[in-house]
Symmetry: C2
Subunit: 393 residues, 2 copies
């Protein structure tokens, strides 16, 4: 994470970064924003072009007990420091993590490495609903192997902070105890200001922007986790708040405001995370998303070796690949393995940008050397099998 | 390496594999091959379709001394076993490797791991002439760090096997001594039979084939290291004898002979090798190859981090990227790093198959997580800088 102070912005870039200033209203007719400064005094600032980069904020349940000091969210660097400080006291023996997404998984690993007992809970039944079942089973085994307890179908109703450790109750009255509760149940876009200003919203209440990052008001831009993007596979708006997209959008706004030509292709939904020794990666659509988007998807899941079979140190690598039976297009890929999944996922990601068919992708001249994979890369094994299946169905 | 016996072919696949039969002539007018069987008796076999899969053979210099038993080539499994057996005796303290290609590098590593002193020699001045100079310098440092001595400009004139250790002389009379000499100076296609049968030859005397693997005689196919392929960037014939291409061509011949539709896209020149702790990868064209093929190339070389800067264990990763100033197309990419180079190269490889521009590639939604790379993947950093350079020039 990169942290720069307001002072640095002023000195290095002549940018007047007004910290402590809360914008409360966008007056798009007058071309100005109004709000409260650090001393409680009202301020107003005129603009020719406005950029909304309000990000996203963690979703914190409204149920009783979430305001307890032993309940923490993980969004800012300060949040992380606060958790670290708490762990350093040695008072945290057990932690309960709400959520089973990327951040939740990374927290589980970080806590287990510090020998804290970890339980993870979520209301839904699936561990990672977007991941193919066979691949998700591998992730579950990895969590099991590291003594992370998983409670799916556990819908938190309230936290009783009167006890020590805290008692976390689900809607059925079952309870789990923990010294620390970490809320990692996702984020929502900070779009209230934009909404109040009458700007069009996109998926999940994110701010709708065009390929030049302009909102429905062409002098107002939005970029980062608050804004949406076009999905290169569906062509439809999508809200996938990840770092590269946010960063790229910021640069693109600056370019466009400065008169450069900008037209963002959009996102492929590429993501990767590490959980203990596993790499979990995805790009493009799942079977469910593909059906939802109107495709006629077929999918295969294969398991092969991360290295040439004769090479010492080879471990299993799983690939799930989705294609469209009507157009032949590659729609998505998921991978789980101990090595070679995180960076391999970029090949199908590029193929999605190029709208390649599975057949075209299957002919890719991918790299081979015994320490790095079998002669037929796991991605090619999956593509070949998917091709066969798409022809049969 | 996969080894199957003739017996297994007979039993499992009903394929009559006639080992010990040397084909000496293709009589394409009569549709038959003739030669000598194991007992020295002549044989003749008729064909409807013929596949030439004669592979490639190591180039062994004709200078005096190369027939000495302490001079070894590395092509077959037997060659490797023979070297291993020799090493096991403990009599090999020093080895001299002729050549500095993939095989030579892998041999250098294998020998150093067994604590044999290693010197590598080649006549030309460049360590890896196809690799950008900055990236090649990193490889040289890695070899230095592992006490591999490099003698470029050393053109072997003869080996004096009368001495123990052997004395290897260059054309200037300088000599190096070694207990074992390993010849890894590349391979040449076994195309003499095809040539004698009047079949068209391609680059480096390989057998020219079309996208269905047919030679200039449409009932005769050629596949594997003996045959050429089309290069997806130049559209021209290329001879790049690597395992995936050879394997894919074999399957394609079988498909085509059986009446399936086949049209191979060709090769992107993707390759990777490991030398000690370094991964060295390439795809597409070098600056020199791009100029040669009629492009107007520009290139950048960048160095960035293999992980997010805050992440422990990050190491440098270098990317060299080549684009065409006229069309904007991505032409090639090279990478060197301790992690993340081998599999990352597949993303630009796919982009080459899709004939993407550098601008399109620069917009790819590549995976990001701190353990696996910076927010802007090294490939994107290179693409962004190359884009800038292509616009300026």
């Amino acid at each position: 994470m990169v942290v720069r102070t307001a002072e640095a912005f002023r000195k290095k870039s002549s940018i007047d970064a007004l910290t402590g200033h809360r914008v409360e209203r966008i007056d798009s007719a007058a071309g100005r924003v109004t709000g409260q400064g650090p001393d409680g005094k009202a301020f107003a600032l005129a603009y020719d072009r406005l950029l909304i980069a309000t990000g996203a904020e963690p979703i914190v349940p409204r149920q009783p007990g979430f305001d307890h000091p032993q309940v923490a969210v993980v969004k800012t660097l300060e949040d992380a420091h606060a958790i670290k400080t708490r762990l350093a006291t040695g008072a945290v023996k057990t932690a309960l993590i709400m959520g089973m997404g990327y951040i939740a998984m990374e927290m589980a690993e970080a806590l287990r490495l510090r020998e804290v007992s970890v339980a993870m809970v979520k209301p839904r039944a699936e561990l990672l609903p977007w991941l193919d079942l066979d691949l998700a089973a591998t992730v579950r085994r990895e969590l099991d192997a590291h003594q992370v307890q998983l409670y799916t179908g556990f819908d938190v109703a309230r936290i009783d902070g009167g006890q020590r450790p805290l008692a976390v109750y689900d809607t059925n009255g079952t309870s789990l105890s923990a010294d620390l509760v970490i809320v990692a149940t996702g984020v929502r876009p900070n779009s209230a200001l934009a909404d109040a200003a009458g700007l069009q919203l996109g998926p999940a209440q994110s701010i709708a922007v065009d390929r030049q990052l302009r909102t429905s008001n062409p002098v107002i831009y939005a970029a980062g986790d608050c804004a949406d993007a076009f999905h290169v596979v569906t062509g439809q708006r999508a809200w996938i708040p990840l770092a590269l997209r946010a960063n790229r959008a910021g640069w693109a706004v600056a370019d466009h405001v400065c008169g450069k030509e900008v037209s963002l292709q959009g996102v492929a939904g590429t993501a990767v995370f590490k959980v203990f020794d596993l790499q979990v990666a995805r790009t493009g659509l799942t079977m469910a998303e593909a059906t939802q988007a109107g495709f006629a998807p077929a999918a295969v899941t294969i398991s092969t070796s991360s290295r040439a079979h004769s090479h010492p140190g080879a471990t299993p690598i799983q690939v799930h690949m989705v294609g469209d039976k009507r157009s032949g297009r590659l729609l998505g890929t998921q991978m789980v393995g101990r090595e070679g999944a995180a960076h391999r996922i970029n090949a199908p990601a590029v193929a999605l940008h190029a709208a390649m068919t599975v057949e075209q992708f299957s002919q890719s001249d991918l790299a081979y050397a015994p320490p790095f994979g079998p002669t037929w890369d796991p991605l090619l094994v999956a593509a070949n099998q998917l091709l066969k299946k798409m022809k049969e169905e």
